[in-house]
Amino acid sequence: MYQALLANRYLTSRIIPLIAVAAVALCVALVIIVVSVMTGFLDMLKSSGKTLMGDVIVGYPVRGIPHYERLIDEINGLSTAAVASPLIDSYGLLRMPYPEGDDKEVVTVQVWGIQPESFAGVTGMADSIYWKELSEQEAATARDDDFRRRIKPGMLGDSLTLTDPVTGRRGALMGIHVSIVNDRQQDGSYEPKFDHWWLPGGHEVTLTLVPISSKGSISEPRDRTFPIINEFHTGVYQIDKSRIMIPLEDAQHLLRLEEAIKYDTSGELDENGRPPVIGTSPARATKILVRAADGVTPDELLADVRMAYERFWMKVAAEDGVMEVPPSRELVTMLTWEQQLRDLIGPVEKERELMRILFSIIYLVCAGLVLSIFWAIVYEKTRDIGILRSVGASRLGILWIFLRYGMVIGILGSILGVGLAYLVVSNINEIHDAIGQDAPTWSWVAMYSFGLAAAIGMLVSITRSRVLYAIILGLVAISLGGVAFALQQHVGTVIWDPAVYYFSTLPSQLDFFTVIITMIGAIVFSILGAAVPAAKAADTDPVKALRYE
């Protein structure tokens, strides 16, 4: 009982243990922030992968899978599949509508030809459409001058059919970062830098694709002009920066993968002077995206899709007069979304584990700090130990005072650390944006003022011969002056470059598992740090301790 009383009093009656608590809190906050951001990043990568491409992807690049509609029927017949959607995946050149004049900007883009209805069923496309009327909830939190407040019903084309409402033409959806006009604001919203270059407001882009023949050679490039229906924001920077989505038929046409009459060019011409028709070459799709039915795992679905492909292939191959037999199962890649993203997820997972290990060293720093602070406290409390022994306290009782003291410091420090980490992580995008900008003038002016006040205080202390206060105030003045100078010199630095880290925002969720592990670690290492000084205290000879001055 007396241990609790003393540990409590030792903690509250002096400053040194508060420094230990602050040190533990900083260590805990550091570990939690770093690992939480890494874990959040990984989760974002995974969840975006799933929502961007469904659960299972069947792929046969460049030439695509012929008779894919039958494959889709076969897959849709599976009880484990919810919906399947064909896709053309290619790369092309996009001529932007800006700047004024004929010399327009041209960018390379990844082109996805999609069948909008089924594609929206497989992926989270509908949610990623950026320019739309704000919901009531969004309207309540959005800025007053948020550009989306200007959007009125009927103003934009139908993103789910990719058609222009006025002309009825088929159009394109573009990633929000493809156009350099869109400017990300601090609150995460986007504004066109110039209103008249807001692309969904009636602008067109011209897309050029290069078809590859069955012999692998390049055919004559084809281009087509599309009105911009809307722009999408998936949060994955690489996608938002480079992807454009157009209707499947257009992509098939531009890549010569549409259904076409096939001629025999090797033989004689018919009576009209044309080569004889030998059949119809079927349309093709380079990928099939499949979403699993509720409660079905991607792996279970993958097994069924493999069998469905096998059945599809056997049926088509067995038919008489079929023009083009699909590639056999071995040639087609069939992967779950996780396997598809393995190259991306694997290194990030390894990086996170490395971070975890590196930052675990911080625990040792924690233990070292607690040890040195406790060493000083035990040294200072030597006489108390003698007194306690003289009234009958046991060695274990003395040991427990200091272990308990260490434990309380660990618990308090870790709770404070979690609070600090929560504040930082939940505001991490704001902090990042602030670092990305020049420091406001008031901040360094204020710091210089506080520094000056401390310097005056130091001079006053010197005149009154208060050396300790003079030194403390001097250190405070120097620190504040340093901070003020750093702020004054600070120019915006973007630390989290979205081009490197894929995402345009930082993850801002605390990782619960990391919080628990870090708290336990901090408490255990604080107790370990306290253990050596506590043992020294327990071993103190009471007579020497009582004589200790």
Binding site: M1, Y2, L6, I387, S390, V391, A393, S394, D541, V543
Partner: protein
């Protein structure tokens, strides 16, 4: 108690003449290692304390009187191979550490020259400290009211009832020593071991402290007081002199 009270001349070589000896040391030796030099502080000191007796140990600085008191109070261990210390017919030299802790906690109460109060605790908390040490959490909660009441009575008796929530640094020397005596008595020990209890106080305050000790003695408490001041020592029932590590 009177039949056990000795005149100063009655005891020879530290021996109580009455039969009822509560604490005794027989031929104890204590050597300290000071770097490479061995310093023999006690060279076979013998002493006896009868129940209810007040014994003064007189000696000059460095004569080993504090060391003898520490040995009697179980704070320190005598040299092996020498004599032993007995408390109520039990050899405390053979006590294990748990028994020694209990002995220090319940059987004896220490009062030191420099008070030795814990600076972070209030007067009341310092006073009840030995009672807290004696109990686990549950027993403490069970007995707390009773112990606090006893401490309050003691402190009130010592004129400290207005100081209960004060910290030691807010007290005068005399008040600190009175608190220390209250702490030594809270567990109702059989013996009070006082090491120069007035050594750090002015004559008048020292006199007050001696009166207080005298009061306790009159209530039947056995006391060993170490001092270098023969006037103070003369207040006791009996005095012994410790010279060069031997009781004379």
């Amino acid at each position: 108690m009177n039949d056990l009270t000795m005149t100063p001349a009655a005891g020879q070589q530290g021996q109580a003449t009455g039969r009822d000896v509560i604490l005794s040391a027989h031929d104890v030796a204590k050597t300290y290692q000071m770097g490479r030099v061995e310093v023999k502080v006690l060279k076979g000191a013998s002493i006896e304390l009868a129940t209810g007796e007040w014994l003064s140990i007189l000696g000059s600085s460095g004569s080993g009187k504090s060391t003898l008191l520490h040995l009697l109070g179980g704070l320190d261990q005598a040299d092996e191979g020498g004599g032993g210390i007995r408390y109520r017919q039990q050899e405390i030299t053979g006590f294990n550490s748990r028994q020694l802790n209990t002995y220090r906690n319940l059987s004896v109460g220490f009062v030191f020259q420099f008070y030795h109060l814990l600076p972070e605790l209030t007067v009341m908390e310092n006073t009840v400290l030995p009672a807290m040490v004696a109990r686990g959490r549950l027993k403490w909660y069970r007995d707390r009211a009773e112990i606090t009441e006893r401490a309050r009575e003691l402190l009130s008796q010592f004129g400290l009832d207005h100081r209960l929530e004060h910290r030691p640094r807010e007290l005068s020397g005399g008040e600190r020593q009175r608190t220390a005596i209250a702490r030594a008595l809270v567990n109702q020990p059989s013996i009070l071991l006082a090491d120069e209890p007035t050594g750090n106080l002015d004559a008048s305050t020292g006199g007050e402290i001696l009166d207080l000790i005298k009061q306790q003695h009159e209530q039947g408490l056995s006391i060993i007081m170490v001092t270098h001041d023969s006037t103070i020592a003369s207040q006791a029932d009996r005095q012994v002199h410790l010279v060069d590590g031997i009781v004379q």
